[in-house]
Symmetry: C2
Amino acid sequence: MEDINYIKENRLEDTGFAYTLKLISGKYKMQTLYAISLNQGPLRYNELKRLLTPISFKSLANTLRELEAAKLIYRKEYPKIPPKVEYGLTKLGESLIPVLDAICTWGEKQMK
Amino acid sequence: MEDINYIKENRLEDTGFAYTLKLISGKYKMQTLYAISLNQGPLRYNELKRLLTPISFKSLANTLRELEAAKLIYRKEYPKIPPKVEYGLTKLGESLIPVLDAICTWGEKQMK
DNA sequence: TGCGGTACTTACCTAAAGGAGAGTATAAAT
DNA sequence: ATTTATACTCTCCTTTAGGTAAGTACCGCA
């Protein structure tokens, strides 16, 4: 770091938008979080696959990995055969639900 | 329309998410709306360009055209030389601001 | 006479997102 | 012995978003 005065005008570059969007942008991320929320409890991989139809295996796996990395969901593995894995909301994930609600209900109001 | 019973399970395909996102997803759409909102009045093309740095001409033009097509902003052209064009929020656009606020403030809270 | 300012468009290129379809491990059930 | 079920991964392909750089039209100003 050199003591240069970086130009900091009234820019919008670093607002919370970019931050929030990094976590929830993607075709199915919000739906995934919402589905778990509506279920009022964790969901299994194939349950999510069905609810998020027509999502592909690849997208679902990616979506879940990224949401987990963002600490919005947790992954719990039951080591048995056939395998069982559950995905649930973390506290952080739950704190996003009201925001998702706002996005969803605004859209529904306009769709009519 | 034929009277076939389409399968309608508990899917999340057609929630308001997809609808809202079609309108506001993109690297600069929310910031654009937010910038106009913060300015409490319409902004000119080059003012937006500066505020949305480092946006490119192409992205800005695209962003504005799409927001206008979505009826979230209006475009007002003053036929003089050099040209002057203003972009402002429509009623619909204004109705989205609280949603954008929620997205932005959630992000800011997590950034700390 | 040529430069600057405004609001763009056009052509080309790259990177990232997402889809399709096949393959994997393991054990219980038939 | 074969099928079924779960939760994935892997490879290849197409689509889309966005960036770069240049060009355009018009007039006032020096």
